[in-house]
């Protein structure tokens, strides 16, 4: 057994899974409340990565930031999460709310339209070229070795910890706050919640804000770990986030996190161990989705919906 390879892929999988988990959370929250697959979510993640990049540039760039590297990272996270939260609210207000009572296919097509709009706007505004986060210059990447086979970098530790931290924070918001209670009530029965005096519009806007802010955090993590961002990065990441949400059980918050880590680990271990893995890792990831649909259509932690007939 090559333990160095095993632990290497484990750390890579957890890092990648952390990013997918943050994207999946947005998918699952919106689906839980609106029963809508928000296919523009991957592109919000891309916008978050770019906002972080431009904040970094505004701070003086990775070589000479006006503040210390880690403070610059904290500012990037804050600004990008707020900006993308607002973007998410805007998308919901103008692209989904007018279609709330329309057949379910209408908002789905609207979501695809928003996705294409965001992608092309990014291409127009920022071009198709890669943008460098230059993490080495910004925070000074360090590797920590435990024994001879296990090593992890400070940026990987940051990514995994931020992802877990944000998930715990989200769980607390949903389980311990009034707004969280309203979200749960809306998810359970929107009409009944409205009759109880809950402002559905406000709850939905808040859900989009949270989901989009988490996606923005994922986008910045991608830039920090892999060094580069580009205008079309949201498409595949969005698909994988969606896959993670479905594998975990769409509508379930712990399921989205579990699905994200599972997809990340599948991708990493497929690359490391399966034939042609580095080229066909995505094939294995989406095969997992098909297998999950066949053996457990509701996902790992999803519950079957009982419909009154």
């Amino acid at each position: 057994m090559n333990w160095s390879l095993f632990f290497g892929e484990l750390v890579s999988g957890l890092t990648l899974g952390s990013i997918y988990a943050l994207i999946a959370l947005g998918y699952t929250m919106v689906y839980g409340i609106l029963k809508l697959l928000n296919f523009a979510h991957g592109d919000v993640y891309m916008v978050g990565a770019f906002v972080g990049f431009f904040v970094l540039k505004w701070l003086g760039g990775p070589l000479a930031p006006a503040v210390t590297g880690w403070l610059a990272v904290a500012i990037m996270f804050t600004v990008a999460m707020l900006a993308c939260g607002a973007l998410g609210v805007g998308i919901e207000r103008f692209a989904y709310r007018p279609l709330r009572n329309a057949p379910r296919i209408a908002p789905l097509i609207s979501a695809l339209g928003v996705s294409i709009f965001l992608q092309n706007s990014a291409l127009l505004l920022w071009g198709p070229q890669f943008r460098d986060y230059d993490t080495f210059d910004l925070v000074g990447v360090k590797s920590y070795h435990i024994g001879t086979n296990f090593f992890i970098s400070n940026v990987q530790i940051l990514t995994i910890s931020v992802s877990i931290g944000l998930t715990i924070l989200l769980a607390l918001v949903i389980s311990r706050t009034r707004t969280g209670k309203a979200m749960r009530a809306t998810s359970f029965d929107r009409d009944a919640a409205e009759m109880m005096g809950i402002s559905i519009d406000r709850v939905i806007s808040f859900t989009f804000f949270l989901g989009s802010a988490l996606a923005a955090a994922g986008g910045i993590m991608f830039g920090l770990v892999f060094g580069q961002i580009f205008s079309l990065m949201g498409f595949t990441a969005g698909l994988k986030g969606f896959t993670a949400a479905v594998v975990g059980g769409i509508g379930s918050i712990p399921g989205a996190v579990l699905g994200g880590f599972l997809i990340g680990l599948t991708e990493a271990f497929a690359t490391g161990y399966l034939p042609g893995g580095s080229v066909y890792a995505n094939l294995y990831v989406f095969a997992l989705l098909i297998v999950m649909f066949l053996i457990r259509p509701t996902g790992l932690l999803g519950s079957p919906v009982i419909q009154k007939v």
Partner: protein, 392 residues
């Protein structure tokens, strides 16, 4: 019933004949239109047009921009000293973009249908050369690339007489790379990662075979150009690997790979790129970075003039200067009587002979029967303080 069967058989036979006849008409129409495009007479006028296919934007823009700058540099130098002028008609190929070679084909079609364009410089990538062959050949255009190095694109015969290049093929590059790895660096364990494109896999195959023939242990893998996460792939590279060879075309990807190697605790492993990674983005990774690149005469005064006017060292585009020189020279000769056809320009490209003293490459530029340069050496470079310096 019998009548129905006979009628059906007759109808089927008729359909087959009609299809065959239509197909043959279509084929002859295609040949006729190619012949028409090749022989259409163009009045040369005071300003002649050269098409330019390059990745002006997109993931490989850092390679495409120098090509555009060098081609423009040639045209501006030429126009200063000649009564007849040239102008470039640029088309963006977006090499490495998600929609593959679609933009390159669109650009080639646009140049083909522009009656004033008599010859083309570019495209940059070998895959793009393959993809644009139909459009450019169909329009009767001769085209000269300053960076497409795949060995087979001249040898497979598909575009002989139409396609030429001012860079040596990968067969020459692979010999230089292998010689340096085994002869100078004396390494025994090498890992090769191709990027799944024709240029990359071809070069990787050649280097792998030559290294193995010299007793070097070679590992091999591939990764898509669309990928940004290399960490899982890096984990697969054996710990005792001394050098990773990357015959890639996108310098930003080369840089990302190098940075992820460092963050995975592999900073000590040497990296060697191919001509596609000959870029400050790749050399900025540090002193354990090597690269192979086209021949160039750094002492040529035009190199100094270019550096001064462009405030940089974008040497990757220098062979595109020579490509523009070749096409312009051919158009000039074909236009002696005031008119020219694309076929005449192609014939003149074939007859090109630029003396070593007039060539930016420091060697005579003339083409063999396949469209390759007769002389074709490759240089090896080492990154010293972030800048590539020639070492072999």
């Amino acid at each position: 019933m019998k009548k129905v069967v006979v009628a059906a058989t007759l109808a089927a036979a008729l359909a087959v004949l009609a299809t065959a006849a239509w197909g043959s008409t279509k084929g002859s129409t295609k040949v006729a239109s190619q012949a028409n495009a090749s022989s259409a007479l163009v009045k040369c006028g005071k300003t002649r047009s050269i098409g330019l296919l390059a990745p002006i934007t997109g993931p490989a823009a850092s390679l495409g921009q120098p090509q555009v700058h060098w081609a423009k540099f040639f045209v501006s130098n030429y126009n200063k000293t000649h009564r007849k002028k040239f102008k470039l008609v640029p088309e963006d190929t977006q090499l490495g973009a998600a929609n593959g070679t679609a933009e390159a084909v669109k650009g080639a079609q646009a140049l083909g249908s522009s009656a004033s364009v008599l010859g083309v410089v570019g495209p940059a990538g070998s895959n793009e050369v393959k993809a644009t062959t139909g459009a450019l050949k169909g329009a009767g255009l001769g085209w000269v690339s300053g960076s497409a190095t795949n060995t087979q694109i001249t040898l497979d015969g598909t575009r002989t007489g139409f396609f030429f290049r001012t860079v040596p093929p990968d067969s020459s590059q692979s010999k230089s790379v292998t010689g340096y790895i085994t002869g100078t660096l004396k390494l025994k364990r090498v890992y090769i990662i191709d990027d799944q494109e024709a240029y990359s896999t071809g070069l990787a195959d050649e280097v792998q075979a030559q290294l193995q023939a010299k007793g070097v242990t070679v590992g091999r893998d591939g990764v898509s150009q669309q990928q940004s996460d290399f960490t899982s792939l890096i984990n697969k590279i054996p710990r005792n690997t001394q050098l990773v060879y990357l015959p890639w075309q996108l310098p930003p990807k080369g840089k990302a790979f190098g940075q992820q190697m460092k963050s995975q605790g592999r900073a000590g492993v040497k990296l060697m790129g191919s001509d596609g990674l000959f870029d400050p983005l790749f050399s900025s990774l540090g002193n354990n970075v090597y690269d192979s690149f086209f021949p160039l005469n750094p002492a040529d005064k035009r190199v100094a003039a270019f550096k001064a006017s462009h405030k940089g060292t974008e040497l990757f585009g220098a062979p595109s200067y020579v490509a523009a020189q070749v096409v312009a020279g051919a158009i000039d000769r074909a236009c002696k009587n005031g008119t020219a056809t694309r076929a005449e320009v192609r014939a003149q490209i074939k007859k090109t002979s630029i003396a070593a003293s007039a060539s930016l490459l420091g060697l005579k530029v003339a083409f063999d029967k396949h469209g390759d340069m007769v002389k074709k050496p490759f240089g090896i470079y080492h990154s010293v303080k972030g800048v590539f310096v020639r070492v072999a």
